[in-house]
Amino acid sequence: MRIKTLTRISTVALSAALFGTSLSAQAEQTLTVVSWGGAYGAAQKTHMVDPFQKESGTKVLFEDYSGGIAEMKAQVESGNIQWDVVDVEVIDLERACSEGLLEEIPRDILPAGVDGTPAADDFIPDALSSECAIGNIVWSVVFAYNKDTIGATPAASVKDFFDTSKIAGKRALRKRPQVNMEWALLADGVAPKDVYELLATPEGQDRAFKKLDTIKKDIVWFDSWSQAPQLLNDGGAVLVQSANGRFYDAIRKENKPFEIVWDGHVFDLDAWSVLKGTKNKEEAFKFIAFATQSKPLAGMSDVAYGPTRKSSTPLMDPAAAPHLPTAHLDKGLRASSEFWADYGESLGEKFNEWLLK
């Protein structure tokens, strides 16, 4: 009995001690950086996260999310802040900023370019246009097909994406109104410059949903960009929407027979931002200042994303140049951050109702 009690007490004490250490182990300086995972995440890890950990000694927890502002909002409004730095699509940025979910980022944290140009002149203007974020990449939403399985008539334009008589089979889209509404109007013959003006009207919105209705039963919805190349690879869909870098990576690294269709691509920026109320604000700023230097930005060309600093261009792999969104601007539409800040919520609701119909 005596010995048994002793062992019992010591077990409890031991576990308590273990618990204590496991808790205190978490107290060391860590920064939670959240981005999109997949090939893009891998490039960021190589060029931004790993070098930063090495230089600063701060441990970075590099997490994935699949976009949207909901998770940030839940954290800020409940006071349960788990993320520090977030890679936000500019399409969501203005909304997050206007709803008070992000910290303002002082511009003086940004170092000059590698060639000595001051940051304010080195960055492209769009990269610094929001007070809540620093632009990180220029990228595009495109769609692609598999050359081996598409058949005799490959897709050539966004019209073909909506034309099931020309190309039969499933289409994969990310489950959200953004970009899909734009594509619907483009495919319906609306000129790129009129798309957002029309989408701001109820008639335009109805028109977009009507166009989407024509392929609704053929759409496979996915939640995260990283699912997209997989869908194209295993035949889950014939035409698949994703970020251009995801396809580029699959083509280049895994020799997949994918072909990107640039017609109607919607180009946008991704930007680093800091979640409002984080305890690691200073460290978060340090990370952003580090990650948006000329060299780390140039590294994003690994996945065919353009840099937001002019001084990065000479440091890039020249082979990537024709695959950057900037090489196809004439065929594309610029995503409107302002439009989606205003209409993101109401169209999001309409979209979900439409989905459930």
């Binding site: 949207g68 909901a70 709803e99 919805w221 919520e345 109401s346 609701e349 109702e353």
Partner: protein, 410 residues
């Protein structure tokens, strides 16, 4: 029995009271723990479904002035002026987005109007707004001129509301103040119907598969029954996510089942099974089947097989004998299993979320959606309260007829 004298009686009573306190003292730690860690959070959530002071906190002055408005035509110009001043202040503090969201909930489509107006008002002089902000506002967007908007804003300003329950039941308040069916798409009633329907189908499948199996196992010799019971218990003990993963591997487009069917030439095209309601039903039947088999098995093992044999040796036909004699005796097990399976499947989240696709979603998934994606926490709370009410009702039935502590765990 001789009568006790008063003193003895008192003593006995005291002893009894002490015993009760002692028993209670054993339970108190857990009771307090559960109340704090489990009951209080759910209570707070229920409170959230009726208490929503955000609008009242954002535009207090406008709401005070709106009280004097009779609901005819537009509110007084002074009220609108005040509103623009408050809106401007919110825009400067980056809180206008929040107000836009609230307005949008009260009056569909307002989000963009509030946001774009706030952006424009931000640049104006506050003094100008104080005197003529209302005029400016009405010119910014034609929707500010709709009296119903202000009626709904006034309603949304009340800190206590049952509006989220109305939304959760696809109802709304009309401009006349009556309750009517929502004009836009009816979502939630349909979804509750679908959820109950799916739970019923799953329960039915579990009963159809579980009853014969339990009967078979219960009538085997002990050794063999115990051995085969392991096949029932292993899935029961296997992680839910493992079982869901298994169904994804089996059902996906080029998964095991499709490869098999195409391999033996039964089908030439892969069947669409994953991300459909079918997938939800199959996977959940698989997951919940042990909950049906276990209580049935335990009841059936307690039934003496000689009853049935006696009936038949007396000339009863097997089927009527089974229906009239055996089946009624198994009803306690069947109802216990069916209720438990039904209760669990009504509130299920993970499996439909992973294998159900858009059409295989249940009410829990829409609650998660409002929690995580649309951030309409109050609506999530209202939907959750309705679900909780339903579950507690079923649980009460279960407790009455089965007893909560008689849940079979193997």
């Amino acid at each position: 029995m001789s009568a006790l004298n008063p003193e003895e009686l008192q003593q006995a009573r005291r002893a009894e009271r002490r015993k009760r306190w002692l028993a209670f003292a054993f339970v108190v730690p857990l009771l307090v723990f559960i109340l704090l860690s489990f009951v209080a959070p759910i209570g707070a959530m229920l409170y959230r479904s009726v208490h929503h002071p955000t609008v009242a906190e954002l535009i207090p002055q406008t709401l005070t002035q709106l009280e004097a408005w009779d609901g005819q035509g537009l509110p007084a110009e002074q009220t609108l002026n005040t509103f623009t001043v408050e809106l401007q202040a919110l825009a400067k503090e980056r809180l206008s987005g929040k107000l836009a969201e609230e307005f949008n909930r009260a009056y569909a489509g307002m989000s963009s109007v509030v946001k774009s107006s706030a952006r424009k008002l931000r640049r104006e002089k506050t003094e100008d707004l104080q005197s003529a902000g209302g005029q400016r506002l009405l010119s910014l967007h034609k929707r500010w001129n709709e009296p119903e908007l202000w009626f709904q804003v006034k309603r949304a300003g009340a800190p206590y509301t049952y509006d989220y329950y109305l939304t959760a039941l696809d109802l709304e308040i009309s401009a006349e103040g009556g309750i009517q069916s929502r004009e836009q798409a009816q979502i939630y009633r349909q979804l509750y119907g679908k959820t109950l329907n799916m739970a019923l189908i799953i329960t039915l499948f579990c009963a159809l598969l579980g009853y014969p199996l339990a009967y078979f196992l219960a009538n085997l010799p002990d050794k063999k029954a115990n051995l085969l019971m392991i096949l029932v218990l292993l899935p029961f003990w296997t992680s839910l996510l493992v079982r869901t993963t298994a169904w994804i591997a089996l059902l996906q487009t080029n998964g095991v089942i499709n490869s098999f069917l195409m391999g033996i030439g039964l089908t030439s095209e892969p069947l669409e099974m994953l991300y459909t309601p079918f997938a939800t039903v199959v996977a959940m039947t698989h997951i919940l089947l042990p909950f049906m088999v276990l209580p049935l098995y335990s009841v059936m093992r307690g039934i003496d097989p000689s009853y049935l044999r006696a009936a038949m040796s007396l000339g009863a036909k097997p089927i009527p004998a089974f229906v009239r004699i055996y089946f009624p005796m198994t009803l306690p097990g069947l109802s216990a299993g069916a209720l438990l399976v039904f209760i669990i499947s009504v509130g299920y989240y993970i499996t439909p979320a992973l294998v159900g696709g858009t059409d295989g979603q249940m009410i829990s998934n829409i609650i998660a959606f409002h929690m995580q994606s649309s951030n309409n926490w109050e609506l999530a709370a209202a939907l959750g309260s309705l679900l909780l009410g339903l579950i507690l009702l079923l649980y009460w039935v279960y407790d009455r007829f089965v007893g909560a502590s008689n849940i079979k765990l193997g």
